[in-house]
Amino acid sequence: MRILRQPGIVVSVVIVLFTLAVMLWPSLFATHDPYEGVAVDRLQGPNGTYFFGTDNLGRDLYSRVVHGAFLSLASAGAAVLVGVVVGAVVGLLSGFVGGRFDFVVMRFVDVLIAVPSILLALIVVAGLGFGPWSVALGVGLGATGSFTRIMRSQVVRVRNEEYVEAARTLGVRWPSILFSHILPNSARPVVAYAALELGTAILAVSALSFLGFGAQPPEPEWGSLVSAGRDFVSTAWWLSVIPGIVILVIVLAVNRLARAIGENR
């Protein structure tokens, strides 16, 4: 097996699979209740009972990280999904229709890309109200521009391929050409970029939660866990540092895999 010769990929696969399991069945992994604290045990450092230590209310940090996985990752996934779907549809139409429509859409995309995506996300959240799902929508819309550009450039390339003209001379109608030839042949770079974008989305979602726009207390979410530990950094470092490390490790693993997908094209 060729893949086994690249330990980085193997480790990344293990991390991502484990994280997925944690996200889907948190109660199998959690050791304590994520909401109910034991007041006597508050602000304990990492130890045998509380792997990641406890917070100021005596809640088990490890269990809170485990239960937070779903919100953090699902909203990052939703963000990428929004970006891919909206970007692919707009890019496909823009590249396919061409002409003035294409010009207008692409200038709009230029503007979209020029605005910092975190700011864009903030605007959306401000409009829709706080919460993990509006954060996801905001981050997703922020990523739409890049997806549109990639999709459009692929479509412009593919629509000039000889097999598209050949399909035309076979009597295939345009909508059919769009879905059977242009879409499958354009999708690959978009998929590779989506994988890469997932890491970025996890960071962006965590950042917005850190700022307090995402999940609201006592709901556990990685970004808000880091934020909640801020007040105790000097006395209880683990409260901010450990969720931070978790985010870091997962983003690295996801990015490594995304790169592998991109290379194996």
């Binding site: 391929e161 000889e162 097999y163 003209e165 050949a166 035309r168 001379t169 009597g171 295939v172 059919s176």
Partner: protein
């Protein structure tokens, strides 16, 4: 001491990549005598280019010489240190590459590119080198050499560029010149002039030449000795007369039989099978009353406007073209690049729209047909493209590709269509086991068969074949041409056949038209055009077919 300049013994070359090791050359022996022209002939993948690259140790990534020796003028090039080899390349061994357009530095004047070699290897002064470069350009047959020396590569035609490259190869009067497919990218008439020049230089300077080519006819015309390669092995060696006159190896016999320039008859249809109901699923029943001519083209004209730097220049690709195709026959258009033959074919297939003139198909005017009427017309006129690597969607399976026209016209059920696909693959003599493969897993010839099967699916009456075999190896060319002739007899097809190669055209045509600069300058029955052409240009085209010296 022998009079061999180059002796290759037991040469083996491997390519190693992530997917494994390929033995490209597996133990090859041959010799090039001093002053002789030796041709290595083989199809793609035979290892002929690998040999030419290993002689100067410039193999592509992953390539290594794993065994053997290359004795050049008393030195073993396999074991020579890189530094010593650098003095040999260019000075003692010249190299003429395949593609003239990518082999010259676009930022340097051509005279300077020759002078550079002279300064490097002959240590000439700047002024002497420049003067010598002009003399060399003159020698390779470039008119007005002094002025041309000051031009950039993009200002020269393909043939001119290849002459410049020949000039660079000969600049330092090398002992050996390796020419790797020196004319494959050029038009036939240009090809002949370039090869003439190459041969003249070799004879005058007494240079040995190793000519690598896929074209047996070119080798037959130019070489003293021919080496035939197949799958990394030499299968036959001998003088040109021996190899062509009495080929010993079976593969050589196939190649000789397949070389279009060497055989001259129109192919005859072989026994044909009766078309089954499964096969004809998508066919439209034809009306009984039919026009005698399937296609009549009158005064067709197409002008393209080229915009460069704000200046619009117009270019007439097809100028007042008229011809007709009798039902069930093959009408061929021959011409060099830029002659307008492809534009004409594309107008007939209604891919591009004509500026003026008329196209009548089966008696009906189709010049301006559009919308659903045009789509219905597609069932009766189909196109096969030159490049089977580009005309098939790489993401689709063979079955899906072949059934695509059936799906487009909603013919049959899914099961019926799959059965029809099998019948069509059978009709183009393609193994039905390949039905679930993707185009990338097929060879060029197999892909072109898939493209033909797809074109047949709806039972067309006219096939527009735009250089259908130019991208294929010679022996595969022959098979595809035979298939086309057989299918024509089986289904009563009419062909509009486009090619630059009169050798190929001669094998399939009933009528031939010669195009030059957008005009049809001569047309008539194949026998007459080939046998007694009236236009000097047609004669020139005929003379340029390689292989005529010995045919």
């Amino acid at each position: 001491m022998t009079d061999n300049l180059l002796t290759v013994t037991g040469l083996a070359v491997d390519y190693t990549s992530r997917t494994g090791t390929t033995h490209a050359v597996r133990g090859v022996d041959f010799a090039v005598p001093r002053g002789a022209i030796v041709a290595i002939v083989g199809e793609s993948g035979s290892g002929k280019s690998t040999i030419s690259q290993s002689l100067v140790r410039s193999l592509a990534d992953g390539g290594t010489i794993v065994a053997g020796s290359i004795e050049f003028d008393g030195r073993d090039l396999v074991r020579l240190p890189e530094r010593a080899l650098r003095d040999i390349r260019g000075a003692e061994i010249g190299f003429v590459p395949q593609d003239p357009s990518n082999s010259l530095n676009p930022l340097l004047r051509v005279g300077e590119q020759i002078a550079e070699t002279l300064r490097l290897h002959k240590k000439l002064s700047r002024a002497d080198a420049a003067a010598e470069a002009v003399r060399i350009l003159d020698e390779v047959g470039i008119p007005d050499a002094a002025a041309r020396a000051g031009q950039y590569p993009h200002e020269l035609s393909g043939g001119m560029k290849q002459r410049v490259l020949i000039g660079i190869a000969w600049a330092c009067t090398p002992k050996l010149v390796i020419a790797d497919e020196p004319t494959s990218a050029l038009d036939v008439t240009v090809q002949r002039h370039v090869l003439d020049r190459l041969e003249l230089l070799a004879r005058e300077h007494g240079t040995s030449v190793l000519l690598v080519t896929h074209d047996l006819a070119v080798a037959a015309d130019r070489a003293d000795q021919i080496i035939v390669m197949q799958r990394g092995l030499v299968v036959e060696t001998g003088t040109a007369a021996e190899v062509l006159g009495s080929p010993k190896h079976e593969y050589t016999r196939e190649l000789v039989a397949a070389a279009p320039g060497l055989s001259s008859e129109r192919l005859a249809a072989r026994a044909v099978a009766v078309a089954s109901d499964t096969l004809t699923l998508g066919f439209v029943p034809r009306d009984a009353a039919v026009a005698p001519n399937i296609l009549e083209v009158e005064h067709l004209t197409k002008t393209f406007v080229l915009k460069s730097g704000g200046v619009a220049t117009s270019f007439t690709a097809a100028d007042d073209v008229s011809f007709e195709i009798p039902r069930g026959s093959t009408f061929s258009i021959v011409g060099e690049s830029g002659s307008g033959k492809t534009t004409t074919a594309r107008m007939v297939a209604r891919i591009t729209t004509a500026d003026s003139g008329s196209i009548r198909f089966d008696g009906d005017d189709i010049t301006t047909r559009s919308g659903d009427a045009l789509r219905q017309l597609r069932r009766r006129i189909q196109v096969v493209y030159q490049n089977p690597f580009g005309s098939l969607d790489p993401t689709m399976s063979v079955t899906r590709i072949v059934t695509e026209p059936l799906r487009a016209f909603r013919v049959g059920t899914r099961t019926q269509r799959t059965e029809t696909a099998r019948a069509l693959l059978d009709a183009v003599r393609l193994d039905p086991d390949l039905a679930e493969r993707r185009p990338t897993q097929l060879s060029g010839g197999q892909r072109q068969r898939v493209a033909i099967a797809r074109a047949l699916a709806l039972g067309p009456e006219l096939l527009v074949l735009d250089e259908p075999v130019s991208a294929l190896d010679v022996s595969v060319q022959e098979q595809i041409l035979q298939l086309l002739v057989d299918l024509q007899a089986e289904f009563g097809l009419s062909y509009l056949f486009i090619s630059h190669d009169l050798g190929v055209i001669r094998q399939v045509s009933d009528h031939i038209a010669v195009m030059r600069l957008g005009r049809m300058i001569e047309q008539g029955p194949a026998r007459i055009v080939m046998g007694s052409p009236t236009e000097p240009y047609t004669r020139e085209l005929l003379d340029a077919i390689p292989g005529r010296r010995r045919a």
